[in-house]
């Protein structure tokens, strides 16, 4: 081992959760943050609409309401102790971001501005509540920038463009990670007492996705190989409004500002599916509604898309019909200029990629694979929990989209992902630093790098009969079609078989680039291996759950089944074979009931 670095805490990933963890851990412990991207390239930066907290800056709101909405949004699969913790922490989390300088939009009084978002309601009236604190439609960008800036200010150690390849465990404890420096191809061992994974989601297993190329589930795949279970991997969120074919996200904030969904017959269809909150129902509900409209022949021009309409005349017409008002009680009205000011990036995306101007034209949209609800099981302090008894893996932490606390359960509410990053990133950082203070370094094994080396060697020496690009496309297509918004036994079984065939064919992938410097071909191939392993776990977990709940909608089991399935799935690799087990859902205040919006 040529390059060994020693830190108390190593954070893998530099998006919102990783930066927050790095910021907090580095206050008391020697900490390194490694990231395959420059931190400011992380996918947190693509989040648009807002971060939720019951600040009540425009109207009455309470953390208890935020908690209930999140529980209901999760289709009762979220753990209520963790949800309550998060929604109570939310207010201080958002204020802390403001204190760090985050440029939130402002109310006329100079407070943080808030907008309505899907599933966030006044629990007494059932009407949408303004809970999403926002900075135009680039809230994630501002969070990412602000946290990175604070890390610079606090002199956090960064290893930029280091790709994690393996996790080192010794005597059942975390001992560090192995990473490759992209610029040189050199392997590095980061010897640490505590390891925090904050590696993001795996939306790249799907064909149409809002997710970055980097979203290949690296952290989850690495831990899976080490026998650590993954939780609720069948639950993946399809965001209702992605740009047709490209999948680029169009924020729910568009509907928060009054935008409506229109089918091929020119009809507003959401009142049929969600009579009270209509276009601002939970994402799973809206995605299914769009899919149903399309399936029943009401897509636009017989194609797989509908329209999202934010033209001021449409917004104002439907706002008047809905009786929507401003905080001062006056009728809600919006101008083209205000749309442009509130949603500048969305307008820009539509102009660039579609040649459509949303101020005067409707946007063609379809549901897009968006968010990983499942992941590495943790408790509310980011500690990785390896079984159904709450047993903690010493020194191992996870936070953000790669983790499953579980606060999102079967379906995440919009804006709760940014909140999740900030809250649980912070606690993972604090806990990891505390742990490191009392723990000793485990002795590094001689062969610490051997796993990483052999994975690379296999790809370099593959026969080359198979092409990684083709395999990747085959994977994405089958997962999107058969393990997508609507699922059934037959299609999922076929998809699982296909994924396993692709895993076999993957062994014949050969990398042509023999160099060391920025060998992106080798890295992409390695990432494909992660996607294949994660896809297998997603398909298998989905096939196993015989009910419909949140983002998991089965045509053959259309109802939620609390009697048999109000439980989390755990899936782990034991002796080379995937095994499924379960753990109970934590229910404190809200007993499951029918979910109506």
């Amino acid at each position: 081992m040529a390059n060994v670095h020693q830190f108390d805490v190593v954070v893998v990933g530099a998006g919102g959760a990783g930066l927050m963890a790095g910021l907090y851990a580095s206050r008391t412990a020697k900490t390194a943050v490694i990231s395959k991207l420059y931190p400011t390239r992380s996918h947190t930066g693509a989040a648009q609409g807002g971060i939720s907290a019951a600040l009540g800056n425009y109207e009455e709101d309470k953390p208890e309401w935020h908690m209930y909405d999140t529980v209901k949004g999760s289709d009762y699969l979220g753990d209520q102790d963790a949800i309550e913790f998060m929604t109570n922490e939310a207010i201080n989390a958002v204020l802390e971001l403001e204190h760090m300088g985050l440029p939130f939009d402002r109310t006329p009084e100079g407070r943080i501005s808030q907008r309505p978002f899907g599933g966030h309601t006044n629990n007494e009236t059932g009407k949408p509540v303004r809970r999403a604190a926002h900075a135009a439609d680039r809230t994630g960008h501002m969070i990412l920038q602000t946290l990175y800036q604070q890390c610079l200010k606090n002199k956090v150690n960064f290893f930029d463009e280091y790709q994690v390849l393996d996790f080192i465990m010794v005597n059942g404890k975390a001992a560090g990670v192995v990473a490759v420096e992209l610029a040189t191809g050199e392997l590095h061992t980061i010897h640490a007492k505590a390891v925090i994974f904050a590696t993001g989601g795996h939306g790249r297993i799907f064909e149409v996705t809002s997710n970055a190329y980097a979203y290949t589930g690296d952290g989850a795949a690495i831990l899976l190989r080490h026998g650590i279970p993954l939780e609720d991997m069948e639950f993946f969120q399809f965001h209702p409004t992605g740009i047709y074919k490209l999948g680029i996200l169009i924020t729910e904030g568009v509907r928060g500002e009054g935008g409506i969904l229109i089918n091929g017959n020119g009809e507003r269809f959401m009142p049929k599916y969600a009579p009270t909150v209509k276009d601002l129902a939970s994402r799973d509900v809206v995605s299914r509604a769009i899919y149903t409209e399309i399936k029943e022949g009401r897509g636009v021009n017989g194609k797989n898309y509908v329209y999202l309409d934010v033209r001021p005349e449409s917004v104002n017409k439907f706002a008047a019909m809905d009786g929507r008002t401003n905080p001062d009680g006056s009728p809600y009205k919006i101008t083209g200029e205000q749309v442009l000011a509130k949603l500048p990036d969305i307008i820009d995306f539509c102009r660039v990629y579609l040649g459509v101007d949303p101020i005067t034209q409707m946007m063609p949209i379809q549901p897009t694979a968006h968010y990983t609800m499942g992941g590495i099981p943790t408790n509310k302090y980011g500690e990785v929990v390896v079984d159904d008894n709450g047993t903690i893996f010493p020194g191992l932490y996870a936070a953000g989209e790669c983790a499953c606390v579980s606060v999102h359960g079967a379906n995440r509410l919009g804006t709760n992902s940014l909140l999740d990053l900030v809250v649980f990133g912070k606690y993972a950082g604090l806990r990891a630093a505390e742990y490191a203070k009392q723990a000793d370094f485990e002795k590094l094994p001689e062969e610490a790098e051997s796993g990483a080396r052999s994975a690379f060697d296999a790809l370099r020496n593959g026969s080359g009969k198979e092409n990684a690009f083709d395999l990747s496309n085959e994977l994405k297509k089958v997962m999107f079609e058969d393990v997508g918004i609507y699922r059934n036994e037959k299609d999922m079984a076929a998809a699982l078989e296909k994924v396993r065939e692709l895993q076999k064919r993957f062994k014949d992938v050969g990398v042509n680039d023999t160099g060391k410097i920025f060998n992106t071909e080798l890295l992409n191939a390695w990432e494909l291996g992660n996607l294949l392993d994660i896809a297998e776990v997603v398909a298998m977990s989905a096939l196993n759950r015989k009910e419909s709940r949140g983002g998991h909608s089965r045509e053959d089991y259309p109802e939620r089944d609390d009697k048999n399935w109000l439980k989390h799935t755990l899936i782990a690799k034991k002796n080379g074979k995937l095994e499924i087990s379960y753990k109970p859902v934590v229910i404190t205040k809200h007993q499951p009931k029918a979910r109506v919006y």
Binding site: L37, Y38, T40, R41, S42, H43, G45, A46, N92, L95, E98, H99, M100, G101, P103, F104, D105, R106, T107, P108, E109, G110, R111, A135, A136, R138, H141, M142, Q145, T146, Q149, Q150, L152, K153, A183, A212, Y213, A214, L246, I248, D345, D348, F349, V352, Y353, N467, A468, F469, D470, S472, V511, N512, D513, G515, K516, I517, F518, N519, T520, E521
Partner: protein
């Protein structure tokens, strides 16, 4: 349609100097240049190297020279470039491999302007947000959009001539804080920018504004910082 893509290639482990390789591939006019590069990498030459992540113009990874102008490959469509596309690395930073340049000097310049919020005054007693009017917030809205892609800095002739110049992106980052009513370190940043390799090296060539994929009026922002420096006023 068939398009012709001429790409600058350089592998430091093999090549003494870079050269151009031409590829003829099928593409749709709605394809992004990034899609075309991904296709070439996937099907023609896996060694072709470039950075990318979000693929829709918000992460700033894939700045390159496309037909002679700095752009993000994911925000440039074939319908805009036409069927002859030349792709080269951005200028002024050392080329590491193909379209990948060394970004360290760029980030080093960024770090010089204290690109983080500074306010050491006590927080509001109730622990709530510091107040800021919508007008005060609007004052620096434009420069909060910056994604640090380096399109502006590497289009700047002053930067090409002198790599010690902090460059437009660093000044944009400084602007974002200098004009934030909550921040207290405008003076320190103006002091940094008054150094020899600071703002004086801007000769308003305007390339930066043209290059910015986020449509930030970079030259205007630099002008506002210059004015603040001369007048000592921040309005």
């Amino acid at each position: 349609m068939e398009i012709t893509v001429k790409i600058f290639r350089y592998n430091p482990e093999k090549d003494k100097r870079g050269n151009y390789v031409t590829y003829k591939v099928e593409a749709d006019e709605n394809d992004r240049v990034l899609d075309v590069l991904e296709y070439i990498k996937g099907k023609v030459d896996g060694a072709l190297s470039f950075r990318r992540s979000c693929a829709h113009g918000v992460c700033g990874s894939d700045a390159m020279r496309i037909n002679g102008r700095n752009m993000l490959a994911c925000k440039t469509l074939v319908r805009d470039t036409g069927s002859n596309i030349t792709v080269e690395p951005i200028l002024g930073l050392p080329i590491q491999k193909d379209l990948i340049v060394d970004m360290e000097p760029f980030f080093d310049n960024y770090k010089k302007v204290l690109p983080y919020f500074i306010n050491d005054s006590p927080l509001p007693e109730n622990g709530r947000e510091r107040l800021q009017s919508p007008e005060e917030r609007a004052r620096f809205d434009e420069t909060t959009k910056c994604i640090l892609c380096a399109c502006c800095t590497t289009s700047c002739p002053s930067y090409w001539a002198n790599g010690e110049y902090y460059g437009p992106a660093a000044i944009v980052s400084a602007h974002r804080f200098i004009f934030d009513s909550r921040d207290e370190a405008a003076e320190q940043r103006l002091h940094v920018l008054a150094e020899t390799d600071g703002i004086a090296r801007c000769h308003t060539a305007y390339n930066c504004t043209v290059a910015c994929p986020r449509e930030i009026k970079v030259t205007k922002a630099i002008g506002e910082v210059k004015m603040a420096m001369m007048t000592g006023k921040l309005d």
